[in-house]
Symmetry: C2
Subunit: 350 residues, 2 copies
């Protein structure tokens, strides 16, 4: 076994402390990654505090983190995709059944037997707990890691492994591209990636936000339009004009104004999961040939495609780099949306 | 002007009586159609009784009917698509602006200036009232009529002009075909067409119905499966198994069991418009990469494509042919779902 060190919580109080544990030895198809950066995703906070108890109850001690980049320092004898010194990424899952219709079509995140989540889960043996990227090392099957071809500073690449793929996947599925008007609801960790990726795909991007103070940022990120979503007049003026809108907001909100903002044949994709449902008339979809779609991260092939796309277009996340002793502060600020736009933990120097 | 005779109502009492009126003379791009058959669509009943007052208020006298087939008996000097003796069809609209992004892409039904509806509307001059297919003749621009290549009895072709295209369009848009499991919710006028068309596309079809008595019919129409939608156990067993479900029901109902019945990446398309909205959690879409779609009839090019598809595969509606003096009886029975599966008025012998 491989000794490593991470930062864990032991209960819902979300107090982090150093935690020594073991990773498995590097098997024939495994790679060992020295983790350099790990992003802080809002879902880390939900799980640490056991706020998603019904969906995925907290297992303590919990080492969160599923936006991971690092350097490959050892490869198993059967490994072909990586060599020592490569940069690798790990996202939200580290294994799956490999046999079901989802797994065999590159949609491992929708594995019929449920994928092995990167942390707060178990390996496919359903016994061995998984610990995440707030740690120094990860051992993973090479088929569940992705290659990072980026040069230079990697801190902005880490969030691509969750926030990047979560927004890329629906933009890609619905063929966003030049000549299209795209809306991004919410300018947070997910939203700021959606703006950058949609812009890189050639679309004309408008941000819908409740925060007037984010207009300048939206422009810097590549948006040409900015609409205060509480401004009923502005929302009415926007009705019928969008080809595609991605809704990244997890707080409860009425999605009907965004359905109205779609033009004929438009698509509203949800990647945020509010606790409360919405009230939707079928007629609001029928009268405009409109589509509502849900999307959850992405599979391994598409995650690789997204990383390559981002490398080609110079897209990374805007990050605030912190040392591990500031995780609790980062959590508090993330909850208050006081981050532009992702905290990333510097594990390289931890 | 061309003298013709139809059957009209003069108020919400839905009492029909013969009605003499005039169609315009055949212009350079017009064709004159001697109507042979006209289907009775449930939307005729809603409009006759002014039940859709807010959406499209009733204008009396009203001659309903937008599922029309007949013989071309005169063509304008500029007409190229039709010649005398051809069989032509007319659906839900008879003109549109021809210039907007919808019209120029063959989606005239979503005309930005609103298409001219076949009845209970006006021509694009927004003055001349339109009268529908419960009549002996129609004069229409050739670009808004479709060619019917069917042989023999045409009575089963008439309902294709609304019920056929309404179900064909979403089945086509979402690439229904061999190897796919397709659900049809509701076995009425729309539903029975959906079963036949999905089957002709090569899919394996299951009917969801509240009426156990319709199982034998479902099989005759081509369905291999039949699920009583009120049977919670059967619905639970069906969860996660469908690629595509088309919901044809206009009565209020909970659509969440159908969302649950979709497999990963599945699509639930709505073509019925219940008065009450549904309560939908974004998570129910996100956790399965699912899609909700609304669809309204179809444009002229797709309506032609549908007619050609149905002719090739021998698909027509199952109809009960009536004389015009039985329209009121047919309305009563349609409201009670006592028809298998479409009333069609014999205008040829009227």
């Amino acid at each position: 076994m491989i000794e490593t060190r991470g930062f864990a919580v032991h209960g819902t109080d979300a107090k982090f402390s150093p935690f020594n544990f073991e990773r498995r030895d590097v098997g024939p198809n495994d790679i060992l990654i020295d983790i350099e950066y790990c992003g802080i995703c809002h879902s880390d906070i939900h799980q640490v505090k056991d706020e998603w108890h019904d969906m995925m109850p907290a297992n303590y001690p919990m080492v969160p983190g599923h936006e991971i980049v690092g350097r490959v320092t050892k490869v198993g004898v059967g490994v072909t995709k990586f060599k020592e010194g490569d940069i690798a990424g790990i996202g939200c899952f580290v294994d799956s059944c490999r046999e079901c219709p989802s797994c065999t079509t590159g949609n491992e995140h929708y594995c019929f037997k449920q994928a092995a989540f990167t942390y707060n889960g178990t390996e496919m043996d359903r016994e061995t707990p998984t610990y995440g990227g707030y740690s120094k090392h990860y051992v993973i099957d090479e088929n569940y890691a992705v290659k990072v071809n980026a040069e230079g500073d990697l801190s902005g690449v880490a969030p691509l492994l969750c926030a990047g793929i979560t927004t890329y996947s629906p933009l890609k599925k619905f063929n966003v591209g030049p000549g299209q008007k795209v809306g991004v609801v919410g300018l947070g960790g997910l939203g700021h990636m959606a703006v950058k990726i949609a812009k890189a795909m050639g679309a004309d991007v408008t941000v819908f936000s409740t925060s007037p103070g984010k207009e300048a940022d939206a422009q810097k990120l590549g948006a040409s339009g900015f609409i205060i979503s509480r401004d009923a007049e502005a929302m009415t003026a926007a009705a019928g004009t969008f080809n595609f809108i991605i809704d990244t907001v997890s707080a409860d909100h009425d999605v009907n104004p965004y359905i109205a903002a779609l033009g004929i044949g438009g698509v509203l994709a949800f990647v945020g999961m509010p606790g409360s449902p919405n009230t939707i008339h079928q007629a609001s979809l029928i009268m405009g040939n409109k589509v509502l779609a849900g999307s959850l991260i992405g599979g391994i092939p598409e995650t690789q495609e997204m990383l390559d796309f981002c490398a080609k277009h110079g897209v990374t996340a805007d990050v605030e780099l912190i040392s591990p002793d500031r995780i609790e502060e980062a959590y508090d600020r993330t909850v208050k949306s006081d981050v532009r736009y992702r905290f990333v933990i510097d594990m390289k120097n931890a």
